[in-house]
């Protein structure tokens, strides 16, 4: 749209026609206060805080509902406006408790800020305040009624943003109240409560402390925490979560997760797990000491003893029974650097290709099928998470984004609501996202392969695609999606192998995204934590990296084959990093009886219980590095919390290699090239380290002085892993995401590969093995189970 020019407070500003005045001012750096206005949600104009004086208009106007117009002359701060805002505040404070010193929002409360600014501290009201007890609506959402200023942000956020509609308004006038969807008389404990997705978006949107979080309330004050923006460890969507941490006697604990830093690809959004399920990190069951099995029992020992024992044993077994008798299982939740290091450890220190992880999506097929193909305009066929938010057309095949990839669902809904995007759905279940769809077809449960053939033009596949008679529906569906260009296809993990390859071939004009289940599932694949593929999906022979590693050219054992080998007595040792295959794959404990098992994890999982050596590991919130989300968007992970007694997986792998007797300089390229003089802490040169850091940052470098520096491995990843070579380091360090596309050519070609993808079917309230170590997730599950009937709109 054409730009219009207007004058605000004497400054000429321009904005696209149709922009709301409040937004145009914000862009120009002029702040107009508002309680009810929330970008992206419908307009309410309930709070009257954003009033401004517009020339030639009678009375003050609300900036949140006034579109800019050519030649408009606006005043945003005059004594008249200040008086109006002050009067509004006095009305709001008429019944607002002045409990700021104990209120969770104190210090980051919009009402408090405005009261400071406009000084409405004295009230003309003599009536006693009408107090109501706070209500617990769910384990994570509490409501403090007198603090509510009736801005209706929560109601709109829940309905429009989340498509849940669990909050409403009841009564009228000054008795209006925000009400949850389960009234007292219908709830088991005779108190009103919430039957919803428990995302906490209402709490985030609340400008005051009326809605507070069960995980955080009354624990601390905002200014007493450090706020670290990092990537959520749960699903594969790659949301940023800002963790509030504070010092405790054994490190620093996480007290809050929220979305203060709205810079991430998730914008406003965080789901239940991103917001609250950090509590596993503070669980008292965390392992804090290495354990070694002595006389049949796991006993705490010193780090030195455990590492020496494990290293010597691995070396002995490697030398006596051969590298092919050793196996390594990697993780979906460790960083790219750790994944890369682990496979390098397996291939160069142990000398085996026996490395695998719990696969939750088939990225090898994605990379090899897209390969060198491009869209008609020569652009990439890999979708980014940002595409879901902005593309004009989305096709969801399989999966249930609302439960498995909540940000993908949020972005799709936002895109439909704000940009009128067209959503197409082919699924064997009635997923909730159908409510936003333009067209949806019911696929039979194992009909995705037939669907791919049908989309490719094979009309005979129609019957196998769907159990429902819907020939017309199918053909119009196919026509519609063929006509969409660009089309973003988001594929669930039902589709893999040949079916995925056919699907990618059938829609040559589309960009693809493949949803996986955990934060770095994609990264584990990209980094080659696989028996038949080197990092970047390069083959075991002929690639640069293969020649550097000089690895065996035969594919190693996959995860299941390793357990078969263990059962046959052929697996001498198994090194499991951040994974619980015994539980996940239902492995009989006796299988591992003859295998020397080393496990590093947060908790004594089913797998760790069987181990000979257990190392307590740090989780993703306690380390730095990078992770790659389902779509291939790489982001930096920052260290937020700290737990005494644990070490990062990175450090553990390096130390283990050291104790095996490997030259760790060949494992981690640290201390090469640039050597930093870290300067003096006192005296004339005391600022040297800082100046040095400035210089290195300006030159796109960081010091890698330690073998435990993940960035040393990131250097190597950028050097040898195709796709990751294009990473811009400053972008990464600035906290921005970058989409990675695997190499177009020279990729591994595997015929008849076993399908080892095991979707973890996590819901909004589960997260693999971490579920049972998160008290909040347990509470929320119990809460949702007590709901006798479904109070939500038909899913």
């Amino acid at each position: 749209m054409p730009d219009v020019t207007l004058t605000v407070d004497g400054n000429k500003i321009t904005a696209p026609a149709g922009t709301l005045l409040i937004e145009a001012c914000k862009t120009a750096g002029i702040e107009i206060p508002a309680f009810c206005y929330y970008p992206g949600l419908s307009l309410q104009a309930a709070c009257r805080m954003c009033v401004v004086r517009i020339e030639k208009m009678p009375k003050l106007q609300t900036a949140c509902t006034t579109p800019v117009a050519e030649g408009m002359v606006v005043q945003t701060e005059t004594p008249e406006i200040a008086q109006a805002r002050k009067a509004t505040l006095q009305l709001l404070l008429g019944n607002h408790p002045l409990d700021c010193p104990v209120c969770d929002a104190g210090g980051e409360c919009e009402l408090q800020d405005m009261t400071f600014k406009y000084g409405a501290a004295d009230s003309f009201y003599t009536e006693p305040k009408n107090h109501r007890e706070e209500q617990k609506w769910s384990p994570v959402v509490y409501f403090d009624r007198p603090r509510c200023i009736l801005c209706y942000r929560c109601v709109r956020m829940c309905g429009e943003g989340m498509d849940v509609f669990a909050l409403g308004i009841q009564n009228r006038g000054s008795s209006s109240v925000i009400a949850p969807n389960v009234p007292a008389q219908l709830s088991p404990e005779d108190l009103p409560n919430l039957d919803c997705e428990q995302c906490g978006m209402c709490i985030d949107a609340c400008p005051v402390g009326a809605l507070t979080s069960g995980a955080y309330r009354y624990k601390t004050r905002p200014w007493e925490m450090n706020h670290v923006s990092t990537v959520c460890t749960h699903c594969g969507d790659g949301c940023k979560t800002t963790l509030g941490v504070r010092s405790v006697s054994d490190g620093s604990e996480i007290v809050r997760g929220d979305n203060r830093d709205k810079s991430g690809m998730n914008g406003d959004f965080l789901c239940n797990k991103g917001r609250y399920a950090f509590d596993f990190a503070n669980n008292i069951e965390r392992l804090t000491s290495p354990l070694v099995r002595k006389d049949g029992k796991l006993k705490p020992v010193s780090w030195d003893e455990a590492l020496k024992f494990a290293g010597a044993k691995l070396r002995e077994l490697r030398d006596s029974r051969g590298p092919q008798s050793l196996g390594v299982i990697g993780s979906n939740r460790t960083t790219n650097e750790e994944n890369y290091l682990l496979q390098k450890f397996a291939r160069t220190v142990l000398g085996t290709n026996n490395i695998d992880h719990h696969r939750t999506a088939d990225y090898v097929t994605l990379a090899t099928s897209i390969g060198a193909t491009t869209r008609a305009n020569g652009k990439t066929r890999y979708a980014s998470q940002h595409c879901v938010e902005t593309a004009p057309a989305l096709l969801f095949i399989g999966g249930d984004p609302t439960n498995q990839a909540p940000l993908t669902a949020w972005n799709a809904r936002t895109n439909v609501r704000l940009n009128k995007a067209r959503v197409y759905i082919a699924n064997h279940e009635e997923i909730k996202l159908r409510r936003q769809s333009k067209a949806a077809i019911q696929v039979s449960q194992f009909g995705y392969g037939a669907l791919a053939q049908y989309l490719a033009g094979d009309d005979k596949a129609a019957n196998a695609t769907s159990t429902v008679e819907q020939a017309d529906v199918l053909s119009s569906f196919r026509e519609a999606i063929k006509a969409e260009d660009p089309l973003i296809v988001i594929v669930g993990n039902e589709v893999r192998g040949g079916e995925l390859a056919n699907l990618i071939k059938a829609l040559p004009h589309a960009k693809f995204g493949l949803t996986a289940d955990y934060v770095n599932s994609r990264g584990a694949s990209d980094m080659g934590v696989l028996p038949d593929v080197l990092p970047g999906y390069q083959p075991l022979t002929g690639s640069t990296i293969a020649s550097e590693y000089s690895v065996a050219d035969k594919p190693g054992l996959d995860l299941l084959a390793m357990f078969d080998a263990a059962a046959a007595g052929d697996l001498a040792a198994l090194y499991v990093v951040g994974s619980n295959p015994v539980k996940r794959y239902g492995i009989d404990p006796a299988t591992l009886g003859k295998t020397f098992l080393i496990v590093q994890d947060l908790f004594l999982t089913e797998t760790a219980l069987l181990a000979d050596v257990v190392f307590p590991a740090a989780n993703l919130y306690e380390k730095s590095g990078s992770v790659t989300n389902s779509y291939g968007d790489v982001q930096l992970v920052a260290k937020a919390a700290d737990k005494a007694g644990t070490r990062s997986d990175f450090e553990l792998i390096v130390r283990l290699a050291d104790h095996i007797g490997h030259d760790i300089r060949t494992l981690v390229p640290f201390g090469k090239g640039l050597r930093a003089d870290m300067g003096q802490t006192r005296g004339a040169q005391s600022g040297e380290a800082d100046r040095h850091a400035v210089w290195m940052t300006a030159n796109n470098m960081e010091p890698k002085l330690s073998p435990f520096d993940p960035f040393a491995i990131l250097d190597e990843i950028q050097r040898v892993v195709p796709g990751y070579d294009k990473l811009l380091r400053l972008q990464l360090l600035s906290g921005n995401d970058q989409n990675i596309t695997p190499a177009a050519t020279g990729l591994v070609q595997i015929e008849n590969r076993k399908d080892l993808v095991l979707p973890s079917s996590d819901t909004l309230f589960t997260s693999g093995s971490l579920t049972r170590f998160s008290p909040m997730l347990q509470d929320v599950q119990r809460h949702q189970e007590t709901e006798v009937s479904d109070h939500l709109a038909a899913d």
Binding site: L167, Q170, R172, A179, N181, Q185
Partner: protein, 182 residues
Amino acid sequence: MAAVANSIFTPATAARFDKLATIYPLKRSALVPMLLYAQDEVGYVSDEVVAELAVRLDLLELDVRGVLSYYSMLRTVPAGKYNVQVCTNISCMLRGGFELLDHCKHKLGIGHKGVTADGLFSLEEVECIGACCWAPAVQVNYDFHENLTPAKMDAVLADYAAGKGKNEPPSPSIGSAAPEAK
């Protein structure tokens, strides 16, 4: 075919609701009339009424409760058989509305929104009922009683108590139902 199987309403009301849901450009516009008719039939808007209306109009129960709580004439607890609504807005107030209200409170032994122990009467203080010309006025269920004084009010209440209220049909159903119940 009925829109809802196993309706909690009488067949006549259910049929009326089936039609109501079809005559507005937006289905949900039928909510307020439906709530009123449902209240007339059931006596109040029960949770079952909320549930059925939500199904009929493709709304969430939360939406129905939101509308329901907005209107003071809709109630969620049973009223007495005769709901005495005393107006205390300006005209009635000037002509003794509050005296009338206080008299009723005293006479019936209940307060605003109260119900007598025998369930016969309930009392409500209401906003203008549109009978200013004949203030003070009282509405009992749907019937108006005007130009009242405490003495006249006593007579009105006595008539209702005796089953001879204004416009009350000498209904055989009421008369015959009582002995059967015993």
